[in-house]
């Protein structure tokens, strides 16, 4: 019997809100209040009925409140002359107040809290997306027009004004980052193996963990100065070479590789190690043939993300790799251009007229973002490729 009443009240709510959306809250409060009372009377009367069903807002309630909130915010903004950003914030606030209030009136406190928190979480997500989308949009808008065959295959040698390209910077970035990875990956992975497999509960391991944490926080310019100082010892004042940049980048990369590999190795179940030991497999073979393959997808992802992290570093490369207009494929001699440094110089010293240099900077920024994105996709692909296949 109570079920039937509730359906009827819900239907009434529906028809009334459809007829007159602006009077939503007053309608629901009038139909919402008698309902809990009715339920209470019902349970005390029969004393057997279980109140498992609850009054629910219709599924389109969220959309309706959103529409009302947007409309209300638009009216207020137009009348007060606010900007669009202010209007969006106002609409979100109205939505975050109205929907939980309506829900509290019709449904119950728990549902209202659920709707409130859902709204907050989605707002936070939206807020976090704003800079990302805006950044991508700006870079694509300004950079997409610049990129063509010439831009990707020419260096900036003897270019004044229009023309030229970033071939030399792409080559430099790829070589420097690759060399940095060649240095950091073995060091990082082996350190992680020591920490997880050999250094459990020992003083050295605790010290290494602490130092790795400290390394994570090294400012990148300091890493660049360190590399410069080291190379000055061997090659004298004013040394510039791509490999120096690799050394500086590897300083930033190693702690990331260590941290991510450590977490991945820790995830390998101890059962598997014991299973291998029990078959008479020595510890090092167990690590190489059981632990590492099992953790491989995670390790690859970690390495790729660390590469993506350092490929955009500017400061250390400014200090040690320097800047040039020509292609240089020798890591160990002379200045080497890299994409971040190219962007920096094209923007701060665009030449005369300034527009060509600035356009090239946007184009290079877009290329850099595409490279990082491609690396992330490759990491995901590799991770999936190497992940243990479970059921057939």
């Amino acid at each position: 019997m109570s079920d039937r009443t509730r359906t009827r009240t819900a239907a009434e709510t529906t028809s009334r809100t459809e007829a007159d959306p602006m009077s939503t809250s007053s309608t629901t409060s009038s139909t919402g209040t008698p309902d809990p009372g009715g339920r209470g009377r019902d349970t005390s009367g029969t004393a057997r009925h279980l109140a498992l069903s609850q009054p629910r807002l219709p599924s389109w309630a969220g959309w309706l409140v959103a529409a009302v909130a947007v409309a209300a915010a638009a009216i207020i903004c137009l009348s007060l002359g606010w900007s669009i950003a202010g209007g969006v914030v106002l609409a979100v606030v109205i939505f975050a107040v109205a929907l939980p209030a309506w829900s509290a009136a019709v449904e119950n406190g728990r549902a209202a809290k659920d709707r409130l928190v859902t709204t907050l979480v989605w707002s936070a997500f939206g807020l976090a997306m704003v800079p990302l989308v805006s950044l991508l949009f700006t870079v694509v808008k300004n950079g997409a027009g610049v990129i063509d065959g010439q831009f990707l295959s020419y260096s900036m040698r003897n270019v004044i004004g229009p023309g030229g390209g970033i071939y030399h910077a792409i080559i430099g970035t790829v070589l420097v980052t690759l060399a940095a990875a060649v240095i950091s990956v073995p060091v990082g992975v082996l350190t992680a193996i020591y920490l997880v497999e050999y250094g459990v509960r020992n003083r050295t391991a605790r010290m290494i963990t602490f130092l790795v944490d400290v390394m994570t926080g090294i400012p990148s310019i300091v890493a660049g100065l360190f590399a410069y100082a080291v190379f000055v010892l061997f090659f004298g004042e004013g040394v510039r070479m791509g490999f120096g940049g690799s050394v500086a980048l590897s300083l930033l990369m190693i702690p990331i590789v260590v941290r991510s590999c450590e977490e991945m190795l820790k995830l390998v179940p101890g059962d598997l190690r014991e299973a291998a030991y029990a078959l008479g497999v020595p510890k090092w073979r167990t690590i190489v043939k059981v632990v590492l393959p099992t953790a491989l997808p995670g390790i690859i992802t970690g390495i790729t993300l660390s590469i993506a992290r350092v490929i955009g570093e500017t400061a250390p490369l400014l200090v040690i790799a320097g800047s040039t207009d020509s292609v240089n494929t020798d890591l160990f001699a002379n200045r080497m251009m890299t994409l971040p440094v190219f962007i920096y110089y094209s923007f701060t010293q665009p030449g005369v007229p300034a527009e060509y240099g600035q356009q090239r900077a946007w184009g290079a920024a877009l290329v850099l973002i595409v490279i990082v994105m491609a690396l992330n996709l490759v990491a995901r692909g590799l991770g999936r490729l190497f992940s243990p296949k479970s059921a057939s």
């Binding site: 459990v200 509960r201 179940p269 059962d271 598997l272 190690r273 014991e274 299973a275 291998a276 030991y277 029990a278 078959l279 008479g280 497999v281 020595p282 073979r285 167990t286 043939k289 059981v290 393959p293 099992t294 243990p388 296949k389 479970s390 059921a391 057939s392």
Partner: protein, 259 residues
């Protein structure tokens, strides 16, 4: 190819904590010995000390003697890796290697040690071990599929096949059926009956009926009190333990009046 094990005055420690105290027993060859007792009394710890798996845990150590074939397992010149090749182990939870196929899992003992085996010899070992573990007919058509795609009972039998593929002298089983349903349990118990003609088997179990069904001898472990080390209360032929035990505590445990 089975050996008996002589244990004398064995104390097992985790760091400073004495977990098992003063165990002396002889485990006969080509028979099944069951270890029973309440949780935390050191059965599994004792079992793991029989193939030096105990010391994998940091800070764990052992005092006393375990002699197999005239050699003390904890002697100075003993290589624990070699010990584990001779004393195989099956764990409570089935743990096939997730990166390997069924075929490779069976061969894991040789593959992981980079032993070169011809194709023909490998096939032979895989078939023999899987037949030995009573799994051959179920998986012979999908040997290249991942081991983790099997059911729990099949995975456990795969682990047994993996353990017997390296042809050990002794097979240790740490509650091999506790994660399995009655049908898989019965399959594994049948398997134990077959295996005991070739191997010395030591099995830890919480299931009294299982101990009575599969074992020739039973050892009862107990704790004097919480926080005290576990100790061996009584070891006797299974029939005697379940019908007419020497110790009161054993009778109390078996009849369910305790723990």
């Amino acid at each position: 190819m089975a050996k008996s094990i002589d244990v004398s005055d064995l104390d097992i420690y985790y760091g400073d904590f004495l977990a098992v105290e003063g165990v002396s027993m002889t485990i006969p060859a080509r028979s099944v010995t069951a270890l029973i007792g309440p949780s935390g009394c050191g059965k599994s710890t004792f079992l793991r000390s029989l193939n030096r798996m105990h010391e994998v845990i940091p800070g764990a150590r052992v005092e006393g003697k375990i002699v197999i074939d005239g050699q003390d397992l904890y002697g100075d010149d003993i290589d624990p890796v070699e010990v584990r090749r001779q004393v195989g182990m099956v764990f409570q939870r089935p743990n096939p290697f997730p990166t390997m196929s069924i075929y490779d899992n069976v061969l894991a003992g040789s593959r992981l040690n980079s032993k070169k085996l011809g194709k023909h010899r490998s096939d032979e070992i895989v078939e023999k071990s899987l037949r030995g573990a009573n799994l051959w007919t179920e998986v012979k058509d999908r040997l290249s599929k991942p081991g983790q795609g099997l059911s729990g009972g099949q995975q456990q039998r795969l682990c047994i096949a993996r353990a017997i593929a390296v042809e050990p002298q002794v097979l240790l089983m740490d509650e091999p059926c506790s994660a399995l349903d009655p049908i898989s349990t019965s399959a594994i118990e049948d398997l134990i009956h077959v295996l005991k003609s070739d191997y010395t088997i030591v099995i830890v179990t919480h299931n009294m009926q299982q101990a009575a069904r599969v074992s020739e001898d039973t050892a009862f472990f107990n704790l004097a009190a919480a926080g005290k080390p576990g100790n061996l209360v009584e070891m006797n032929p299974t029939r005697k333990i379940f019908a007419n035990p020497d110790e009161k505590a054993t009778e109390a445990y078996i009849s369910g009046r305790f723990g």
